[in-house]
């Protein structure tokens, strides 16, 4: 099978998963008592029964569940996630404003993780059992064990409060494209990327050490290739395969991490909006963000699989 056919087939398999994702998202909110309208009514006791019925009609909340689902889905597919109950603002507008903030944070977290973890993993595997390896392993283990909200608080405590190296918290933040933004980005970015960096280091070290024991490595050395070529050309590509299989899980971790880390650092992204919406019971916002999150993870998964197939030709033939 060619790479292109693999990609097409894999992309098509995303469709049923996305369908399932939409069903679960819808189900989570609509099988529990109290739809948005009854909440609105609770907020505003002056609403008459007739108005309530009209609202239900307008928001597609009348009729059997499956019809409600279809109404919701068809709206979502054209980008309409409904309105905020309190303010009446369109949820899609909130999404569009918040999403770039979270993407910037997530991409920075990933970049930080990769930049730290790949070299650290290679170093540890090549120097297995020596001091540097032990240090890398202890650090990586600590990195996967540290709660990100605590790490964030500690960074603020030490770097901002005691040492004054970073601004504590932006009362009102500068726009993303402003060069100053990087200073605000550093702490939350490092916080969100630490777990991924630690996981990738661990996987990289293990898979690299395993690959180094493979026969093809001995064979490559027996061909007189320099150790540099053996490690960086032959072994690295094989070890990256295991990192790529992990990438989707880690992306999910970063997305989940953004909820916590954005709250710690008052970062105005989807994560902090999510927590705020849960607090205020803004069902439409919570639903929209849940859905966006899941779709992002599904797409990350797809991307990882494609990368996997590019790196390892054997996959395309399964």
């Amino acid at each position: 099978m060619s790479l292109r056919r693999f990609v097409v087939r894999r992309a098509l398999s995303v469709v049923p998963v996305l369908f399932g994702v939409s069903v679960i998202t819808f189900g989570l909110f609509h099988l529990t008592p109290g739809d948005p309208v009854s909440q609105l009514v609770a907020l505003n006791p002056d609403v008459s029964a007739a108005e309530e019925a009209r609202l239900r009609e307008r928001w597609g909340l009348s009729g059997p569940v499956w019809r409600q689902y279809l109404a919701w889905l068809s709206n979502v597919l054209v980008g309409d996630f409904g309105r905020e109950l309190r303010t009446g603002r369109a949820v899609s507008g909130i999404l569009w404003r918040r999403l770039p903030e979270t993407i910037v944070l997530g991409v920075f977290g990933w970049a930080f993780a990769i930049a730290i973890a790949i070299p650290a993993g290679i170093y540890a595997a090549v120097n297995k059992g020596r001091l540097g390896d032990v240090a890398a392993r202890v650090l990586a283990l600590s990195g996967v064990s540290i709660p990100n909200f605590w790490l964030g608080l500690l960074l603020i405590l030490v770097l901002s409060l005691y040492l004054g190296l970073f601004p504590v918290l932006p009362p009102s933040r500068l726009p993303l494209y402003h060069p100053e933004t990087l200073r605000y980005l550093l702490l939350p970015g490092v916080t969100i990327g630490t777990a991924a960096a630690a996981s990738v280091t661990r996987v990289m070290r293990t898979s690299m050490a395993e690959e180094l024991n493979e026969e093809y490595v001995t064979a490559a050395r027996a061909r007189g290739l320099p150790e540099r070529t053996v490690v960086f050309k032959h072994v690295l590509r094989n070890s990256l395969v295991s990192v790529v299989t992990l990438a989707a899980t880690l992306t999910a971790g970063i997305v989940a991490g953004s909820v916590v880390v954005e709250s710690v650092f008052n970062w105005p992204g989807l994560g902090s909006e999510f927590v705020r919406a849960i607090d205020r019971r803004e069902v439409n916002v919570v639903m929209a963000i849940t859905l966006v999150t899941a779709v992002a993870v599904v797409l990350a998964n797809l991307l990882a699989d494609v990368l996997y197939a590019v790196l390892d030709p054997r996959i395309r033939y399964d």
Binding site: R223, G224, L225
Partner: protein, 363 residues
Amino acid sequence: MTAVLEVEDLTVRFYTEEGVVTAVDGLSYRIEAGETFGVVGESGAGKSVAALSVLGLIDSPGRIEGGEVRFEGEDLLSMDESELRSVRGDEVGTVFQDARAALNPVYTVGEQIAETIEHHLGYPPSAARDRAIRLLDRVGIADAETRYSDYPHEFSGGMCQRAAIAMALSCDPELIVADEPTTALDVTVEARILDLLAELADEFDVAVQLVTHDLGVIAGTCDRAMVMYAGEAVETAPIEELYYDPKHPYTAGLMSAIPRVGDDDDRLPTIPGTMPDPIDPPPGCRFHPRCPFAEEACTRTDPALVDPETGEAATLDDDRAAACLEYTEGLSGGLDYSVEVAGGTGEHVEKTIDERDEGGPDE
């Protein structure tokens, strides 16, 4: 004849959690230019470790503890990594047991051959590619041009081994070290690969060190052979003499254990027991716990490798050597096995070692 490879007193140890394993213990042998030299023994005899140590390919926790490995007169063990690398792949090619595992799964077979050529011979990419394709064609891979861009998993086991042979030959080496090259293959494929190896060895005028556990493989391909047991050489002989006149009881045991079509015996004779624990080998002759001819003396004295005719210590130049007390101190019971040769006409040639060697020189 000049020697391509001379190994003298090679000792390799592995420092493991359970203890120190002496995988190769004072091993000496020589391989002459253009000859095919067999190394045979059961699993765990140290054959593969010996072969890999020659090229300095032993990984931690293994360590080469002593000895000399002279390749065309130069000691490989005293070379630094980069000098050694210029020998590996260029002057000494290697063929591994599992050819598919020895190829990197994420690069095409052709790329990997061309990579070696580019590295050692300094060919530009396109010339290296042409040479790789010619080599693939030469080792019998049909449609080599297309097959160049196939990945290892698209090759059959036999084809992988052919590609590995092409890779070993790619820089016109003087010596090919083949470590159990056919063990992982079907019997029919095995025969063809062995023939190919022999044929190419002739054509390229390259010496081959063929490591195997199968005496049958040795018989078909080698000029001389060495039998190893528990890290030591127990017998060295030209191939004919090894078969028709085995001097060491272990060799005799290995040969009696070869199954034959048409044998009326209802039970396949085997060598009793297993290879000794490499961490704590038995005292005296390491084979004595499994040797039907062992006597009390065998538990005390570790026999040296000697010329079985004279009983004098064997040197690298000796073609014939065996390590059994029978040839030095003499055993009271002797070695009373015999070799029967059943020819096509049904005539029987019988020769009893016992008779000839009774009253050896050192008695």
